[in-house]
Structure formats: C-alpha cells, structure tokens
C-alpha cells in the first residue's frame, strides 16, 4: 500500500519538479535578459508595452507562459518541502506536503486567471 502510494504520487511530483527546474535554469535567464535588460535599454528591438501586450494575447504564447510560470512553482514546492523536512519538521510533513504542492496548484490557478484576462 505504502509502496503503491509512493509509486503513484512521487513520480508525478518529481516530473513536475524536474521540468520546473529545467525551465528555471534554461528559460528564466534568457527571459530575464530579454525583458529586464535588452528591451528596456533598447539594445535589441523596440519592446513597447503595446507590442508585448499584443504578443501576450496569442493563445500559444499564453500556453507557453502557463508552463513557464507554473512548473517552477512545483519546483519550488518540492524543494521547499524537502528543505522544511530536512531542517527537522518531519513530524508535520503531511501538512508541509499539502501546503507546498497546494501553494503550487494555487499559483498555477492564479496564473491561468491572469493569463486568461490579458
């Protein structure tokens, strides 16, 4: 029973965690460079608010952004869960698990709402 539980739950969580880690490591730096540096300082392209806003309205961009934003939430949740357990909170691990992944799910729902309303 315990094995089955771990086998069914953990692989999914771990996949989300890995995917989120991959995105934070590979996509975030590029995004930060573009939106935080290249566009505002007009080093590459003229990223006016209107142009970016139009781009964001495209469903495909929204879908991509959804994954780019929500998966790292799960990365955070997994890391944070283990960090808390590792600093000695194992006795409340169920609550930690619920709060962390719950937080990630909540974050993902908020992401959907925000993207939907663009």
């Amino acid at each position: 029973m315990e094995v089955e539980l771990a086998q069914s739950k953990e692989p999914v969580i771990w996949m989300l965690f890995s995917a989120g880690g991959m995105i934070s490591a590979m996509v975030f730096p590029v995004l930060l460079l573009i939106t935080g540096f290249l566009l505002p300082f007009e080093i590459a392209g003229d990223g006016t608010f209107e142009r970016i806003h139009v781009a964001l309205k495209h469903p495909l961009i929204k879908l991509i952004l959804f994954f780019v934003i929500s998966l790292p939430f799960f990365h955070w949740a997994h890391r944070f869960r283990f960090t808390l357990v590792d600093i000695g909170l194992k006795h409340v691990s169920l609550m930690i698990t619920v709060c962390c992944y719950g937080g990630a799910i909540l974050g993902s729902i908020l992401t959907i709402i925000v993207l939907w309303n663009i």
Binding site: Q7, E10, P11, R79, F82
Partner: protein
C-alpha cells in the same frame, strides 16, 4: 658483502619530521563521553593515514581500536572521517594534509562501538533488503543442462560500474538525507539494486521496487550528490538513484497507458 655498510636509498623518507594525529577515543565501559587524544607520528611521504594509525597501535597505544584489512582500497573496512571528510584511510596520504595536524574520527552517522569502530548492522540490513542477487521469475530458472545465462559485453557494461562498490559506507556517511533519517535506503544499497536491475540475467526488478520506490527509497533523495563525491570507486550512486527515479517514472506512465488495456 664485505665492503662496509649497505645503504638502501628510499625516496621521500624523512623520519625527522613528525605529524600530530588527533584521534577520537571512546570506550563505552570507561568513558561517559568520547574524547580526543593526540599522538605524534613520524611523517613519511609514502605513508597513508592508516599507516600512521597502525604506528600508534604498534608503538604508542595498543588500546586503540579500528578496522582495516587490505591496505589497498579493496576491502572497504578502513573508512573514517579524516579532517571531517569520509575517507578510506588506506588511500589518504599524510602528505595531502599540510596543516600539521590530522583529526581522525569514526565515520559519521553510525553508532560508535569503540574508538573508530562503528556498528554496521543498519547498512548490512539495507543491503540484504534490496535482494542483491540474481532473481528469476517463477519457472524462469534455467535447468543446469540448458547451460549458463549468456551476456554480451554491452550488456555487462550497463551495470559494471555498480559492481565496483566495496561497501565502505563512505557514501552513507556523506549523505545528509541518511543523517536526518536513517530509514532512508541510501546510496550504496540503491546502486546495488540498480546493479541487479540492469543485469540482463535478472528478472527481480519488481521485487526490488518495493524497497527502492517505497517511501524510504529513491524519492527521499534530493540529489545532493555528496555520495558520488566521496565514493572511492567511482560507483556514482547519485546517478544510480536518479536513473532509478527515471525508470520508476516510466513505470508509472506505462502503468497509465496499459491500465485501459488490462480491463
């Protein structure tokens, strides 16, 4: 040889210098708490920490207890903390510790029996738990007349690395997860399970999964990677664990796909 004294030249021996070894001592019958005792040991270029400890035992203090056997990095019994790091003392050269003082403690994370000797029971149980031997399905066993199970060099290469483990327990000592929760199956045992799982002659993966993929198995690992850093045999147990995670995840998806077809 009548021509006077014979002189045997030995490179790098300089007996004049000495080095201080600070050794963890604990005798459960006498000491309420462990203490450290210092010993001055000749410093020799070609001496390893184990040589220095043997010198202490032979020349300075015969009451010192510790484990060793092969003196060549094969038996896995001489693991100790050397200046805070898990090391095979038979492979840790004095010359690599320039501070003039070396601190030797029992491998951290295990109950100390006496001085540098610690209890290995937990580790041994974990090794047996993962069924580290070739398992065949029911009726899957070949009859002797049918000959041996053949294996190609490529099939051997898949798991060979994991066969190199010498059960020295350095990886357990380095693992922060094991330090916090000794229920964790741990690096070497999981690497050993992988060794058999990836062996083309074996059919026992499912049985091992119960231990490996359970709550105290691979999913406890947060990929700190220290096990692979300290491993003296380059077994890379951290990679074994990550691979086990990938294949268990594959199992899960295969399970979903085949669920429909089962009914």
């Amino acid at each position: 040889m009548a021509s006077g004294r014979t002189y045997i030249w030995k490179r790098g021996i300089s007996v004049s210098e000495s080095i201080e070894l600070e050794i963890f001592r604990y005798c459960p019958e006498k000491d309420a708490e462990p203490l450290f005792k210092s010993y001055q040991v000749p410093f020799r270029e070609d001496w390893v920490v184990l040589d220095a400890i043997n010198y202490i035992k032979d020349e300075l203090d015969g009451t010192l207890s510790y484990r060793w056997s092969c003196r060549m990095g094969v038996c896995g019994s001489c693991g100790m903390m050397v200046n805070g790091e898990p090391k095979l003392t038979c492979s840790a050269f004095l010359r690599d510790y320039s501070s003039g003082k070396i601190r030797v403690e029992p491998l951290q994370g295990f109950p100390v029996l006496r001085d540098l000797v610690f209890q290995m029971d937990d580790f041994i149980n974990k090794l047996t738990e993962v069924k580290p031997y070739i398992l065949r399905n029911e009726n899957g066993e070949k009859q002797v007349e049918e000959g041996e199970y053949l294996q190609s060099p490529a099939q051997l290469a898949k798991y060979k690395q994991y066969t190199l483990c010498i059960n020295c327990m350095l990886c357990y000592s380095a693992c922060p997860i094991y330090a916090l929760d000794s229920e964790f199956v741990g690096p070497a045992a999981i690497a050993l399970a992988q060794r058999y799982n990836m062996d083309s002659r074996d059919q026992g993966r499912k049985q091992r999964q119960e231990v490996i993929a359970g709550h105290e198995g691979i999913w406890q690992c947060t990929f700190v990677g220290e096990c692979s850093v300290v491993c003296p045999k380059n077994v890379d147990p951290a990679a074994a664990i990550q691979r086990a995670k990938v294949s268990s995840t594959m199992d899960f998806f295969k399970g979903i796909i085949t669920l429909g077809s089962k009914e």
